[in-house]
Symmetry: C2
Subunit: 163 residues, 2 copies
DNA sequence: TATTGTTATACTCTATAACTATA
DNA sequence: TATAGTTATAGAGTATAACAATA
């Protein structure tokens, strides 16, 4: 198929030649090369996400909410921040998930304006099934030799650690 | 697609012994480790995508369409397949983008049922700006040492090549 | 006054089903 | 008959603005 913008046609950016963290060499911008390939892999894989969520009767956004909701009670405003969306949006989102019995609202005792979200037993069980599927590595990853996988893991740890 | 299979049966991953491409070792499933980290990096980065698109007055989906639309005319049905969505959806999507002057519909001469999408000049210009932003590597990547970036690029090439 | 969550409104995205025009 | 695209409809996701309760 296509949809490939690999081979970096219009991406040959020899822009900043000199200093700084963006190394530009004879092959072009190295961070951008690596990132473009990584993005391509991820984007291809992510096309399946709506279908994956649908298998659990979740919308894509509900699946993201379920993923975020594992680590104890979460204020609705915090969830809105995680989702990078407006608070008014979270109201309807939680309405639907609460109606389905996945989460419950609980008023905070410290600040009675705040409502904390807690997973129900059903919600926690569904979340486990979801995570199992989300973190299933795609064939492109599984097919890599062990040394590549080790290197990839270590590089990603360094990248995330430096955040 | 809602019945679901094993109803609660989890996939006991790390008990898969020995052979096959999925190596299970004392540290657990190596592909899954690498993938989970990669997923986390990508997910964090992708939270900014709606805002990035909004800066160009695009919805997230319109941005994806623009990205796919660079390489010559594309049938609407093909676009629907790329987006993994229903054809009826593409009609409205293209309506709005056409109204804004980013694309035009052109009837195919081979098969007059088919309509091909072509970027306008404005559409192509906006696409260039979009791609420049999309493939801007995040700090977590830019901060990696050069050898990590080379290794990452090469590993991703192998992963994508083996698709 | 400022903040948390809700409501009202409007628009976009999405799927299903029925329709048309081609093939 | 089958396929490509449209229309109609319905529901979900999203932002803005106005609001109530609380701080």
């Amino acid at each position: 198929m296509r949809g490939m913008n690999g081979s970096g046609e219009q991406l040959e950016r020899k822009t900043k030649p000199g200093s700084g963290p963006g190394q530009a060499g004879p092959e072009g911008d190295l961070p951008r090369q690596a990132w473009t390939l990584l993005f391509e892999l991820m984007h291809t894989h992510m096309r399946n996400f709506p279908a994956l969520a649908a298998e659990l009767d979740l919308s894509p956004v509900q699946a993201h909410v379920l993923r975020q909701l594992g680590e104890g009670p979460l204020a609705m405003s915090t969830l809105a921040a995680y989702l990078s969306c407006d608070a008014s949006n979270v109201t309807g989102l939680v309405d639907r998930m609460e109606a389905r019995g996945l989460v419950v609202r609980r008023s905070s005792e410290q600040d009675r304006r705040v409502k904390m979200l807690v997973l129900t037993e059903d919600g926690a069980a569904l979340r486990e099934r979801l995570l199992e599927r989300i973190f299933e590595p795609p064939d492109a990853i599984c097919g890599l030799p062990e040394e590549d996988l080790c290197a990839l893991r270590d590089i990603m740890r360094r990248a995330l650690g430096a955040q």
